[in-house]
């Protein structure tokens, strides 16, 4: 009936009721519309990466999030007296900072509400060219961590008269704590003998800063830095040191054609997740392929073009297979696949070929090759390589890596690898290299495949080394201090972190620190041989670290910490409660991402960048005109003033304790390194120190000086306001950079050397003599002098000459056992969880070392958001058919018994939930060691304080513990529960009545694991041989039973059966030219005399 006559509708005029009575009347004109016209808010940004311009950060208004969801101001207008139903507008100061939840150090901005002086949210920092304004779940969780209801509100001291671990605490002040601790340090150092310089140990977890922590022991003249590297990445570092004398590699993800990952690192967890993941995503968008080698189907593997589930620890074989094919095959044009132009120029084949004695004795002698090369030419070298790697065939790899039925995957890998040319980006870091004995060789072999194709040149889309992509100046604020210069090199060598069995370790042997302390026989043995080893640690200072929980053999840590004759005083600079805190004398609460002052730099792409972590409340308050009474304690004062609690941080704590307590009169020569040049009566301030440190970047200094003409500390001011600075971009092929040379000098590494003192060797390396040692400074190529790599040869070292000289000649080139007969002979390269050790159906390799993307070791237990999404995410993955065979079903509790393949000793077991899945390979279980936190009490009462302090109340269930010096047990006794006891930060914790999770996210498997120190890299080889069985009637998921007396013997077996310790022929502790981070030592400290 279209269209009706218009006349029909005229009837509408004759309705018995007028329209006004019918219409709902939802329109009204009011004040809202006017307020909208006058506003400038963005209702819905066009892109997710929307940020206000930096120029508006000091004063930025934004609609309140809770109101925004009502439709924004366009619907409701801006709230005012006239428009009370409008949208709330917040007045912010946006302060840039840096995330501290993992090592990636992504940029953050803290949105400080100026009216309440609280941080309402943390967002990304778009000025950070690595993270580009983006963050992962852990970054956005910082708000929940900052206002964690269980935040430790003031320094705690073990109650006088109580024992460590009793859980009795009293409230103290920072000043009282500093006085007692400072005195103990003073008294120790005052002795001035060799032993006392080994008795203060600063044990740093993930530092997330670049050098400030190193300065602490260095300035005291002690060799007292201990890192967590040996449970993290020592294997990868060892392999990288051997190739490049660098600490780690650094890929150009964004421009790669092949993303070649071993493990889930970079793309879904770990180094440098989020930044790397974004760059990898960019590359894949443009067509790059991604390969993941991992026994477990991680998120990365799941979305990769190719997943290759090698048997864990055998990846070396696969890499050498690629090397074999590259050496033997040609492309369709008949051209060699080896990138000779790169390999010949930049790999030290020449030194190997010149060392015929080595070739004969160790390569020929070990049967790696059948005949000596006819001459020392490159061509003969390649011929020798062809023979060397010819045993690593496809058939061999399929058998060794247990890839039966996966031939097609190897073919696909080969195609991708070759198609990518020299644009292959990788990051060999944790996973294989840390998990296994000989894991370091995985890195050696992995880099060989890259070097052969030219991908290690560090060119666009390839792989370089981190040194060139990182800036470390946090330890170099010397000019702000009275001393005005770096402290002198330290003259002692500390055997506790650097024991003589591990001269090449990378780096400190921290995971066996309690074992060494309690190993009287070891102490006696080396004392008899002439070393001076302390029997105790006077002051043990973990910093943002939880060694008890995260290290293997946790009960040994507990034993050591409880022994006051072994650890005389201990304090943890810790933002959260932790298992370690429980056994310390002091818990000193320090800041999280927005509550600290650190310079950080992360090599996530080919550029040089620094970022600046800040105490954002202090900065916001100072911008609003607030001034601290004592400028050297401004962060602490701001936190106390603005309701965060007595939260401090190291860059103010250390200068203060040094100046006022450790060396108050300067007699120890320490004070001058921490007293302010501007006002020597007090400690150096954050602006003073970091302005001096960051002024070492010339472009930053130039820019900041122009921009902040009226500021006393312009570089500090720039970083305070921007949070990140990129000093240099497109850092490609840095080894090919020409050194400056003039008529008199050669300039290298910021120094100049008289030309007539520079000598060239026959391989083109330039050398100078300095401090009685030969240093190489560059490499002559054609008529140019190039910087070269950081190695002695200035080339990449296929042949690690020094490694051969330091007792390991048979492994000085990338090799791997070629048959079962060589497993024993080359046992240092064979993983402790090799398939040859698995005899029965219920014997497995346990893959422990993968990270969970939303948890960072021990740093997420204070975030209710992260803990909520973590629940039940850490079962034992078991391959479906393996589970079927053993009658194990989804959800079944199983006993996972740990057994050692070196000593044959059993360590006990943990009980965990089994989940049969196709996402782990046959024969290999997976259970991340990043879950399973515990507490022995729900809360502690502090005398005189009205509220009980809850311990990890959103993340850890309660357990009952027994330990008698030999056997330790842990049994869960109670889960988490809804919280109605929140007394602080209520505004941020309105949802705590909705804790539905019990917190039992895994078992403390780390305690069951014995320490497995790799004989060369020193890393704890994390993976475990396990025997599984169904749980027994009384077993509960979370139970552990540990024979830590056996674990002690396991550590000893690995140490004594596998290492090649220093002996009377050695004159130095370690090759002086390879990295030994943290404390620089003098030549004297390196010298050693071991009695026969």
């Amino acid at each position: 009936m279209y269209l009706q006559s218009r006349r029909t509708f005229l009837k509408g005029a004759a309705f018995s009721v007028a329209g006004v009575a019918i219409a709902k009347g939802v329109f009204a004109t009011d004040a809202a519309a006017e307020s909208v016209t006058n506003s400038k808010f963005t209702n819905t940004p066009d892109t997710l990466s929307f940020y206000p311009p930096q120029s508006e950060w000091d004063n930025f208004q934004e609609l309140d999030g809770a109101d925004w969801k009502r439709g924004g101001i366009e619907r409701h207008g801006v709230r005012s007296e006239e428009n009370p139903d409008g949208i709330q507008v917040n007045n912010y100061t946006i302060v840039p900072t840096v995330c501290s939840n993992c090592e990636a150090g992504c940029g953050l901005t803290a949105w400080v509400n100026k009216d309440t002086m609280t941080v309402r949210k943390y967002m990304g920092n778009p000025l950070h060219t690595g993270s580009r304004g983006r963050n992962c779940a852990k970054g956005y969780a910082v708000t929940s961590q900052m206002y964690d209801p269980d935040r430790i509100p003031f320094p705690l001291k073990r109650a006088p008269g109580s024992k460590r671990g009793e859980g009795k605490w009293v409230r103290t002040t920072w000043d009282d704590a500093m006085a007692e601790i400072g005195k103990k340090m003073h008294d120790t150092l005052k002795k001035g003998d060799e032993i006392s310089k080994k008795q203060i140990i600063y044990h740093v977890g993930r530092p997330n800063e670049n050098g400030f922590g190193h300065r602490v022991p260095h300035s005291m003249g002690v060799d007292g830095y201990n890192s967590h590297t040996n449970i993290c990445s020592a294997g990868a570092r060892q392999g990288t040191i051997q190739w490049a004398n660098d600490d780690r590699n650094s890929p150009d993800w964004a421009n790669a054609r092949l993303i070649f990952l071993q493990s889930s690192h970079a793309a879904d967890a770990g180094h440098y997740f989020q930044q790397s993941a974004g760059l990898i995503a960019d590359a894949r968008k443009r067509g790059a392929k991604m390969v993941v080698l991992d026994p477990r189907m991680s998120n990365s593997a799941g979305m990769a073009d190719l997943w290759i589930p090698c048997w864990p620890g055998t990846e070396t074989a696969l890499y050498l297979y690629l090397a074999n094919r590259v050496l033997h095959e040609k492309d369709i044009n008949g051209t060699d696949l080896v990138n000779h132009e790169f390999f010949k120029e930049w790999v030290n084949w020449d030194r190997l070929m010149a060392n015929r004695e080595y070739i004969e004795k160790h390569m020929l002698g070990n049967g790696y090759i059948s005949k000596m090369p006819k001459d020392d030419s490159y061509e003969s070298f390649i011929e020798m390589m062809k023979e060397l790697y010819s045993p690593y065939t496809k058939e061999f790899v399929i058998k060794e890596c247990k890839l039966e039925g996966m031939d097609h995957k190897l073919d696909a890998l080969w195609e991708m690898y070759i198609d990518a040319g020299d644009k292959i980006a990788t990051y060999l870091w944790r996973a294989g290299p840390i998990a296994h004995r000989g894991g370091w060789m995985i890195t050696r072999a992995g880099f060989l495949t890259l070097a052969l194709r030219g991908a290690l040149r560090g060119d666009i889309g390839g792989t370089s080394f981190h040194h060139w992509h990182e800036i470390s100046v946090a330890g170099k604020g010397d000019k702000s201090t009275v001393a005005g210069e770096r402290p002198a090199k330290v003259d002692v060598w500390n055997e506790i972190p650097w024991p003589p069995e591990y001269p090449l370790s990378s780096y400190e042997m921290s995971h066996i620190m309690p074992h060494l302390l309690m190993d009287d026989a070891w102490h006696e043995k080396w004392t008899k041989k002439g070393l001076k080893i302390p029997k105790s640690i006077a002051v043990y200072m973990p910093r943002m670290y939880n060694p008890v929980w995260i290290n293997p053999d946790g009960f040994r840590w507990i034993e050591a910490l409880k022994r006051e004759d072994k650890i005389e005083l201990s304090f943890n600079l810790s933002p959260t409660w932790s298992e370690t805190n429980w056994y310390c004398d002091y818990v000193l609460p320090v800041g999280l991402a927005g509550e600290r002052n650190d310079q950080q730099s992360t090599p996530s792409k080919p550029e040089q960048r620094i970022e600046f972590r800040q105490a954002v409340l202090r900065v916001a308050a100072e911008k609003a005109g607030w001034k601290a009474k004592d400028p050297s304690r401004a962060t602490l004062e701001a936190h106390m003033k603005f309701g965060l609690g007595e939260i401090w941080e190291e860059s103010e704590f250390w200068p203060n304790i040094m100046v006022h307590h450790v060396d108050p009169d300067g007699s120890l020569g320490i004070r001058k390194y921490w007293a302010s040049k501007k006002d020597p009566s007090r400690a150096v301030t954050v602006p003073e120190y970091f302005d001096a440190a960051m002024s070492l970047l010339p472009r930053l200094k130039e820019t900041a000086t122009k921009m902040y003409k009226n500021e006393e500390f312009p570089v500090y001011a720039y970083m305070r306001d921007h949070g990140a600075w990129t000093e240099k971009t497109n850092v490609y092929k840095p080894q090919e950079e020409e050194l400056k040379v003039d008529s008199e000098y050669v300039y290298a590494h910021g120094k100049k050397y008289p030309k007539n003192e520079v000598k060239k060797d026959k391989f083109g390396a330039l050398w100078i003599e300095h401090d009685g040692r030969e240093h190489s400074i560059g490499l002559v190529k054609d008529d140019k002098i190039l910087a070269g790599f950081h190695t002695r040869s200035k080339k990449l070292e296929f042949f690690s000459e020094w490694f051969a000289e330091w007792k390991w000649p048979e492994y000085a080139i990338p090799v791997y056992p070629r048959n079962e007969g060589e497993y024993k002979k080359m046992e240092h390269l064979v993983t402790q969880v090799h398939h040859s050790f698995m005899k029965a159906d219920n014997e497995f390799a346990l893959n422990t070392v993968f990270r969970l993307p939303y948890n960072i070791h021990t740093r997420s237990v204070n975030s209710k958001h992260l803990m909520e999404i973590s629940q039940n995410h850490n079962p034992v993955w078991i391959y479906t058919k393996d589970a079927e065979k053993l009658g194990i079903k989804r959800g079944d509790p199983i006993r996972v018994k740990v057994t050692d393949t070196v000593s044959g000793l059993d360590s006990g077991y943990f009980v965990a939930m089994a989940v049969p899945t196709e996402a782990t390979r046959p024969g290999v279980l997976a259970c991340s060691h990043h879950a399973g936190r515990w507490r022995l009490k729900e809360s502690v009462d502090i005398p005189g304080f009205e509220h009980p302090l809850t311990i990890m109340g959103v993340g850890a269930p309660t357990y009952e513990m027994t330990n008698d010096g030999k056997v330790g047990t842990l049994k869960p006794t109670g889960g988490l529960h809804a919280r109605h006891d929140v007394w602080q930060f209520k505004e941020y914790n309105k949802d705590l009545d909705n804790i539905w999770w019990d917190g039992l996210s895994g078992s403390w498997q780390n305690a069951v694991a014995p320490s497995h120190p790799d004989p060369i890299a020193g890393n704890h080889a994390w993976h475990l041989k396990v025997i599984i069985e169904k749980a027994q009637a009384d077993d509960k998921i979370g139970d552990i039973v540990v024979n830590y007396a056996n674990n002690f013997k396991v550590y000893q077996a690995w140490r004594d059966q596998l290492t090649r310790p220093l002996d009377h022929n050695d004159t130095e502790r370690r090759p002086w030219f390879i990295k030994r981070p943290a404390v620089p030592l003098s030549k004297k400290a390196y010298e050693v005399h071991i009695k026969a």
Binding site: R6, A14, A23, F27, T44
Partner: protein, 219 residues
């Protein structure tokens, strides 16, 4: 001002009011009674007028058992009576302040009480029709005041809003509604609304052709 022009305007106002009311929320007994008692109104619901269920059930039961069920189906659950759903390529609704229809209302300083309307966004068909009702009312007032320039400007806005918004999608929606209707009442309502919108656009187009000379058309 000629009587027939004013009559026409009042008719437009009343019909926009009725349509927006019925498309916005469920009919209640009072509303139903009003329609049933008013032969002019009822004449727009010819199928409903002779619907046998009307005889079988009380108004209350009719509403509860049939009309509200149909309303829910047509306007709340299964069909999407929002412009953005029909006009955006991604068929996403814009419920926030960036809804372009909302922006138009704001530009005229009309604040729409979405909570009172119980709709999700300002581009709901009933809101758009009520906006037309508001405009027509304002136009009438201007006419009555003899301010024909203002009336003309408002008529231009009506034309533009119908053309650029309502006609861009409402016919499709109303055809769907008519097809899906499970009661004579909503079947008629969809048809009524469709017919009226098209007719009104024709009227406004004619007016536009005459450069909004109201009197010219009536001669």
């Amino acid at each position: 001002m000629q009587e027939n022009i004013l009559t026409q305007q009042i008719a437009r106002i009343n019909i926009y009011a009725l349509l927006s009311r019925l498309l916005m929320s469920e009919v209640d007994e009072e509303m139903l009674e009003l329609i049933l008692k008013d032969e002019n109104m009822l004449s727009f619901f010819p199928t409903f007028e002779s619907w046998e269920k009307r005889e079988q059930y009380s108004n209350k039961d009719l509403i509860e058992k049939y009309l509200n069920v149909d309303f829910t189906n047509l306007l709340l659950l299964h069909l999407i009576p929002y412009e953005s759903f029909y006009t955006r390529e991604d068929q996403m609704m814009e419920t926030g302040g960036d809804n372009p229809v909302q922006a138009i209302f704001n530009a005229f300083e009309f604040n729409v009480a979405l909570d009172k309307a119980r709709v999700m966004a300002a581009d709901h068909i009933a809101i758009e029709l009520e906006f037309m009702y508001e405009l027509a009312k304002a136009e009438l007032k201007a006419m009555e005041d003899g301010n024909m320039q203002i009336a003309k400007e408002i008529a231009q806005i009506e034309y533009g809003f119908l053309k650029d918004h309502i006609l861009e999608w409402a016919p499709m929606f109303l055809l769907n509604m008519k097809n899906e209707a499970g009661t004579a009442f909503y079947y008629d309502l969809a048809d009524f609304a469709l017919e009226f919108i098209l007719s009104d656009f024709e009227y406004l187009s004619e007016l536009k052709k005459r450069d909004y000379d109201y009197l010219a058309g009536s001669k």
